[in-house]
């Protein structure tokens, strides 16, 4: 994966397959601390200890359509290459939280990419799951969620292509705003 946004798209698919009703994606960037932390937390069926141990093994997958499962291994690879790592907390019946950390200024850290587009597509594709996205930059938080959109614009809003394109724009504008007033952010 060449962008953090694509990793988000990929890891969230695991949560969807785990039957999650709510998926919380948080991207926390701080040049001051030199960290970028991605968290994907879901309330899906979770994993037992054995599955959890195998989760980052590329030769393990819960699918039957193919024999490899590369989502978490690829995330782990990119995180390790940029001086960070991946931790997974999970228990059956409660859900799973995947945390990937990166050194912000590491030359091998993938760029954020089109995170707003990714979130918009996830909201569009999973109308019955509450997707909550929070973007934190040096402590300033901005969030949006499926339930918030439904409340403002109606249940059907999240499957409307025009609305979803506008949602993408809203995410873009707001994230750009909280990133903008931080000197030096344009470098990354």
């Amino acid at each position: 994966m060449k962008e953090i946004g694509l990793h988000i798209m990929d890891i969230v698919q695991n949560s969807i397959r785990a039957g999650a009703g709510e998926i919380t994606v948080t991207l926390n960037e701080s040049v001051t601390d030199d960290t970028l932390i991605l968290t994907v937390a879901d309330n899906g069926k979770g994993m037992d200890e054995e599955t959890l141990r195998k989760a980052t093994d590329p030769w393990f997958t819960s699918r039957t359509t193919r024999k490899v499962g590369l989502g978490l291994p690829l995330l782990q690879m990119n995180a390790s290459l940029s001086g960070g790592g991946v931790t997974i907390d999970s228990s059956p019946g409660t859900g799973t939280t995947v945390t990937a950390s990166f050194r912000y200024t590491h030359v091998d850290r993938p760029p954020l990419g089109d995170v707003s587009g990714t979130i918009a597509l996830m909201i569009l594709s999973n109308p019955s799951i509450n997707i909550v996205y929070s973007h934190i930059c040096e402590g300033t938080v901005w969030s949006i969620s499926t339930s918030e959109i439904k409340e403002a614009l109606g249940e059907e809003a999240v499957t409307d292509l025009t609305i979803v394109r506008q949602i993408r724009e809203i995410i873009n504008e707001n994230v750009a705003e909280i990133r903008n007033f931080q000197p030096g952010y344009d470098k990354y």
């Binding site: 089109d114 587009g117 990714t118 597509l121 025009t162 809203i170 504008e173």
Partner: protein, 130 residues
């Protein structure tokens, strides 16, 4: 166009231009819509499925075609990603492989608009691994 900054802005704009509100009716009748499903597992994403899904969302909306665009998982055609499943109302779904923007445009213009088959269909009886 003024910049959209919040859901409240979006709500106001949509209320000012009520023209598009009839789109909501679509939700009551999903069978009458074209269904586009982009395979979005690791294999698909790594092969560029996300920009292809963006393309379908943008272009179907701009060209005024009522469609439901969603994601699926891996269907076992990893070699042919990005793959896109298209189901026209009342018809069997068809899976297209190696979809790039040019192919996506062709799928919209020929298959979705006119029902003409285009090259690149993956036969349904193709054998999956166990």
């Amino acid at each position: 166009m003024e910049k959209l900054k919040s859901l409240a802005d979006l709500k106001r704009i949509r209320e000012e231009a009520k023209v598009k509100l009839e789109l909501r009716v679509r939700g009551d009748n999903p069978e009458g819509l074209v269904q586009v499903k982009v395979a979005m597992a690791t294999c698909g994403i790594a092969s560029g499925a996300k920009p292809i899904m963006d393309f379908f969302v943008d272009e179907l909306d701009k060209r005024g075609i009522g469609a439901v665009v969603t994601q699926t998982g891996c269907m076992g055609y990893c070699y042919a990603e990005p793959t896109v499943e298209v189901q026209l109302p009342g018809q069997e779904p068809v899976v297209f492989g190696y979809v790039d923007r040019k192919k996506a445009d062709e799928i919209i213009e020929k298959y979705i608009k006119n029902g003409e088959l285009v090259e690149g269909i993956i036969p349904v009886n193709y054998e999956k691994i166990d």
